[in-house]
Each structure stands twice: as C-alpha cells, then as structure tokens.
C-alpha cells in the first residue's frame, strides 16, 4: 500500500511539474465552455440578405419594414441587378435575396395575388431552409393580418413553445457535449501518452522488473488523470452555472457518479491505446485521429444520431460519450433522477468494466 502511495506521488509530480501541460489541461475546458457557451448559438439571426425592391410602393415598403424589424436579418439594399446579386452570393456577402417585382401592389390589388421572389444560397442547406422559413412566416403573418381584417375563414394558428431552452441558446446542447468531449479526450490522450512516454524513456522496464504489481502501475498512472478530470468536471459545472446560467437541475451526486464512470471508461481506453502504441507520436495520433472526430460526430451533440445510416447508428452505440451525453442532458438540464438514466448508467458501467478488464489483461501479457 505504501508502495502504491509512493508511486502515485511520483505520478502527481510528473503531472504537476509540467506546467504547460497542466495549464492546458485546465485551460482547455475553461476556454471551451466560455467560448462555446457564449458564442455557439443555434438561433439563426443577423443573416445578411439583400432586398431588391423594383416596386417601391406602400405594400412592399410595409413588407420590407416587417422583414427588417426583427433581428433575423441584416439587410443590404444597395444591390440592384442580377449580376450584382450573383457576385454578392459568390463572395459570400449575402445568404439570400428577396426580390419584389415591379408593380407589386398594383398586381396584388388587381389580380389578388403577387409573388415575391426569394433566392437562397443553399450551399448551406439548413440555413437556407431556416431563413426561407423566416421570410415565409413573416409574409404569412402579413397575409393573415390582411385576411383577418378581410374576414378570412377557418384560420388555424399554431402556437409554438420551446421547452428547456426557450431562447434556443447553444449552451444547453453544447455544454454536455463539451463535457463529454473534454473528459474523454483528456483522459485517453493523457493516459496513453504518459504510459508510452515511460516506454520510450525506458523507465517502464525498470518499473516492470521492480516487485511492484502491474495493477499498481496502472492505478498510479490513472489516479492523477482521474483527479484532474474530476476537477475539470467541477470547473465546467461551476462555469456553466456562473456564466451561462446553466445549473444542474438534477442530483449532483448522480451526475458525479456517472461522470466518474465515464472518466474511468475513457481512462481504460487510454490504457488500451498505450499498450499498442510504441511511440508517443503514435499514441497521440491514435487518440486524436481515432477518438476526436468520431467522438465529436457520434456522440449526438452536433448531429442527430437517428439521421445516420444504420451501421453508423450501431457504431455510435459503442461510443461511451454517446451514453454519457444522454445522461448529462437528462440529469443536468432536465433534472431527471436515477429512474430515467439507469439504463445508460448500466451501459457505461458495463463498458468501463469490460475495457478495464481487457487493458489489465493485455498489460500483464506485456510483462512476459
């Protein structure tokens, strides 16, 4: 036991002596929470659009005013010709062009209808859909108003309510995602690199010939990273509460417990990677290439998993961060209890045990 403590002490010294890495370990989650929390938003606003009004009459002026009144659009009125529009699109200066043809209100009064031409830059399809929809909504509102004054029948008015995140802030979705991403990557990378470094330096041999049990080596390698990750977890939670007004609605105890499970799982992955890697570079590339993008994409916080082809959906099931992401959303944002997350918790626990057992076994084999 004493031996183990000595060893853990050594590992802490390694970690704390390297100020730059340490700074990075704590700086990363802080920077990410602050940047992502404040900057990332799903609400699409201030989209730059061009309005070309060939009619310039009472109705079009009224419509233009309506379009510019919200903060959805940032309006450009200087463009006049089709070529100017095309150039603006190609330069990425505008996302959409709204064109009122000549004699707009005359047509509207005489024929009862008039069409606005809307050209969206669909190189970003979702943005195009969303802002076309904004315009449609504004025009429909306008229609409804004129219709109501004209006594138009059978009006269905959808009333929409956004739950949990009424302002469509990015933070509620990104904070759990960042938690999953940061914890996962810090754990896997730091662990795998720390172990491979000893291999490269040759000190691992010394440890392996010492009467020290391999399990102790593993435990002492994992302990500092475990502690750092827990500290990181609390930094993230405190920052979210302070700056992003995102409080843990459910039980902190439950969240901590599940986070520990997730951290241990990630540490085990790091351990596994280190067993197969010969150089630090290889370990790092494996953690980065192998873990970062898949974690970002298969966790579900950037892209909905149910949209993916079945094989990828199946693959996402073995990504631990996917389950952790669900747990954090449920416990932290919705305030649900154990009954809501027992399944995900069990899955994480299973993964954790399995990975740890495998890496322990592999590690022993290496001894011989």
């Amino acid at each position: 036991m004493n031996q183990l403590l000595t060893f853990i002490r050594k590992e802490f010294l390694h970690v704390f002596r390297d100020r730059k890495t340490l700074l990075m370990l704590f700086g990363l989650p802080i920077a990410q929470i602050v940047l992502f929390g404040f900057a990332l938003s799903n609400e699409i606003k201030n989209s730059r659009i061009a309005i070309v009004d060939y009619s310039k009459d009472a109705v079009t002026t009224q419509l233009v005013n309506k379009i510019s009144s919200g903060n959805y659009f940032d309006i450009q009125r200087t463009l006049q010709s089709a070529t100017q529009l095309e150039t603006a699109f190609k330069k990425g200066d505008i996302r959409m062009a709204v064109i009122f043809p000549a004699n707009f209100s005359t047509d509207l009064v005489h024929t009862g209808k008039a069409a606005i031409q809307v050209i969206a830059d669909a190189s970003d399809p979702n943005l195009a859909t969303t802002i076309t929809n904004y315009i449609t909504r504004i025009v429909n509102d306008f229609n409804t108003q004129t219709a109501l004054t004209a006594g138009r029948p059978l009006q269905i008015v959808p009333e929409m309510q956004f739950l949990y995140n009424p302002e469509l802030k990015g933070a509620p979705n990104f904070v759990p995602g960042v938690m999953a991403l940061v914890l996962m990557l810090v754990c896997t990378m730091m662990t795998s690199v720390a172990i491979v470094k000893e291999k490269e330096l040759g000190t691992m041999e010394i440890l392996l010939v010492s009467p020290f049990k391999p399990i102790y080596i593993i435990i002492s390698k994992l302990t500092p990273n475990l502690l750092i990750s827990i500290v990181n977890l609390f930094i993230i939670l405190v920052l979210s509460a302070l700056f992003l007004d995102l409080h843990v609605k459910g039980s902190i105890l439950l969240l901590t417990f599940d986070s520990m499970l997730f951290i241990l799982t990630s540490l085990s992955i790091g351990l596994l990677l280190s067993i197969n890697a010969k150089t630090q570079q290889a370990a790092m590339m494996a953690s980065l290439m192998g873990m970062m993008l898949p974690t970002m994409l298969l966790t579900g916080f950037l892209f909905p998993i149910e949209n993916m082809p079945l094989p990828l959906q199946a693959l996402s099931n073995i990504v631990p961060s996917r389950w952790y992401f669900i747990i954090v959303k449920k416990v932290m944002l919705k305030g649900l209890g154990v009954t809501a997350v027992w399944k995900e918790t069990l899955i994480l626990a299973g993964m954790c045990l399995l990975l740890f057992a495998i890496s322990l076994r592999r590690f022993k084999i290496r001894l011989q």
Binding site: K45, A120, A122, T136, L288
Partner: protein, 375 residues
C-alpha cells in the same frame, strides 16, 4: 542555400517515409474518415419524432396527423390523449416535439373560424427545434389551405377574397439541398488541419527532445532554411491528403468542384502556410512532445468547433466572430464552400485569401523570432 535545403528535404522525406505507421495514419485515416464522417454529419433534418395528443378524434385531426406522418420529416412515436404523457415522452427523448390538438378542434374551427394548435418542442438541440418547428408550421399551413378549399367548395359564407402574397423561392447552388455538398468540403479542411499543425509541431519538438536540433544549431544552416526544410514536406503531405480527399469526395459523395481546381490549390497552399506557421509557433513554445500535443490539441479542438464546419459563424455574437476571423480554418472553409459549391473565382475569395496570408505571415514571423530566442 538551395543545396542545404535540398539535403534537409532529402532527410525529412526519408524520415517521414521510413515511419510506416505515421504515413499510414496520415494517409489512410483521413480517407476512411472522409468516407464515414459525412454519413454521420448529416443534418438534413428528417425523422423528427413527434408525439401527438389528440383530444379531438375528429376527421380533421386524423387528416392532419396523416399529413404530418406522410411528409417524410416526422415519425409518429406517440399518440396519446394526455398532454402530460406527451411531455414526459419529450422529457425521455422519445419525442422531439409534442403537438396537441385540443378537444372540439374541428367543431370550434367551423364555429369560431379560428382555432389554435399547441406545439411544444425540445429546444436543447436548437437546429432541430428550429427546423422541426418550421416544417410543422408549414405542414399546418398547407393543411389549413386544403381544408379551406375542401370545406368551402360547398361554400357558404365566403368573405371577400383577401389578396394573397405568395413566395416563389429558389435554392441556388444546391437546388436539391444535398447536405453532403455542404459538409464534405468542411470535413476535408478539418482533416488537413489536424495533420498540418500537429505534425509540424511534433516533428520539430521530436528533434528538440532527441537533441538533434542542437547539432543542427551548431552547423551553419540558416534558421529560415531549416524551417523551410521542415515545412515543405508537410506542405507536400497536406497537398497529397487534400487531393486524396477531393477524390474520395468525388467518388463517394459526388462532390465535384464547380470552381477551378487551380483556385482551390492556391488557397490550400495559402492555408497550409498559415497552419504550418502555427505548428512551428507551437513547437517553439513546447519542450516535450506531450506539451506540443496538448497545445495543438487545444487549438484544433477550438478550430473544429468554431470555424463554421459544423456550426454557424453568422449567428455568433460580434466579439466571437472577431475571434473566429483570426482562425485560418474559418477562411479556408469559407473558400472551400464558395469555390466548390458556387464556383467563386479568385476575386470573390480575395478577402479570405488575404486574411489567411496575413495570419500566416504573423504566425511565421512570430515563430521565427521566438525560435531565434530559444535556440
């Protein structure tokens, strides 16, 4: 000096080619990722799960539900009579949104000429909420028009027909709203980014750790020659990866650049100049590979999240946009999308090219100055 550079390059290429694992990792990993990731990064919102609370059970409510499910966007995952039951489905992620059709909806619609429908959306995933809400509203509007026509042909109390403004919308550059066209170029940039900055930083720090850099420092090699010798191989690797990526994008996703390849490669070189400069700078600040890793990881992670590959830069607050505009990948992703999708030419992308070059210049000069000091 050309001769010295030649010997440096010969050595760098030998070392890189000899390291089979790294070469494999550098070439194969991006290819596989580029094949798989666009499949995962599909945000064309479909399969939105909806729970319907039908308190009306009328033909109208049935017809609306039928219209929603047949739209292709929605998947009916719950049909209950209680609003609370539907809300708890949303809570448990079994439904993304709940639609409540109030009791006597059909009767009151006819009687009162106006009725409300209640929609509750899980807004944690903002984009999905936005689009889901938008789709549902437009389906309801369509439905509204249909019943208006159907119920009124037998018409009785038609008011004076109100003038109607319609919208003729067209989607340029990507008329079929193919999400792959949007995401493939961005993923390609992400992959090149990870390789360029990290590997350069790593390679130099490795020489520091091994002590060979000290040997180089006592030779008459000029610093800038040494640095050029370090950067060219990664420039070449970056170009190879990029080319492979273009081929993969073409074969697997049919993404073909509308604009000229010449413009793309020119931008790539400009971009790599900036990113290799970053790698170099990070290397001068790190003493060990571990430090180089944490530093470059820090930047890559933030670049990936903030540069507009997966999230919209337009909707960020001004200060954040100002920060993002100093990120080289932001500009390169913009360029890629403009050139590949819209066929933008060199004059269109000039501001972004210039910005990248300026950033690259700052990074490289900073790196060289800092390298002088430490060496």
């Amino acid at each position: 000096m050309i001769r010295t550079l030649y010997f440096l390059l010969e050595k760098e290429f030998r070392q890189i080619m000899r390291n089979k694992g790294i070469v494999r990792m550098l070439i194969i990993a991006p290819v596989i990722q580029l094949i798989l990731l666009p499949l995962a990064a599909d945000y064309s919102v479909k399969n939105i799960s909806i729970a319907v609370v039908d308190n009306d059970h009328s033909t109208a409510s049935q017809r609306l539900i039928g219209k929603i499910t047949s739209s292709g966007y929605f998947k009916l995952t719950g049909y209950t009579g209680s609003y609370n039951a539907a809300l708890s489905m949303v809570e448990q992620e079994k439904a993304d949104l709940a639609l409540q059709i109030p009791a006597h909806f059909e009767r009151d619609l006819v009687r009162e000429n106006s009725q409300k429908l209640y929609i509750a959306i899980n807004a944690i995933e903002g984009t999905k909420a936005n689009l889901g809400g938008a789709y549902l509203t437009s389906i309801i509007t369509d439905f509204n028009d249909e019943i208006r026509v159907d119920w009124h042909t037998s018409g009785s109390s038609t008011g004076p027909d109100a003038p109607q403004i319609s919208i003729a919308s067209s989607n340029w550059y990507n008329p079929f709203m193919n999400f792959h066209l949007y995401i493939v170029p961005a993923i390609l940039v992400t992959l090149v980014t990870a390789m360029a900055a990290m590997q350069t930083a790593f390679n130099i720090v490795q020489e520091k750790e091994n002590g060979t850099i000290e040997q180089i420092n006592v030779t008459p090699i000029k610093k800038y020659v040494f640095i050029t010798g370090k950067m060219i191989p990664f420039l070449v690797l970056g170009i190879i990866i990029f080319t492979l990526g273009l081929i993969v994008g073409w074969i697997f996703y049919g993404v073909v650049s509308t604009g000229s390849l010449w413009v793309l490669y020119l931008s790539l070189v400009d971009y790599l100049f900036a990113m290799l400069g970053l790698g170099l700078l990070l290397a001068t600040y790190s003493g060990t590979q571990q430090q180089a890793m944490s530093l470059s990881f820090f930047f890559i992670n933030i670049f990936n999240m903030m540069s507009g590959a997966f999230t919209a830069v337009d909707s960020m607050p001004g200060w954040a946009q100002a920060i993002v505009s100093t990120f080289p990948p932001y500009h390169f992703i913009r360029i890629m999308r403009m050139v590949v999708l819209k066929g933008s030419g060199i004059t269109d992308i000039l501001p972004d090219l210039g910005a990248m070059f300026a950033i690259g210049l700052v990074l490289n000069v900073w790196a060289i100055v800092n390298y002088r000091k430490t060496a």
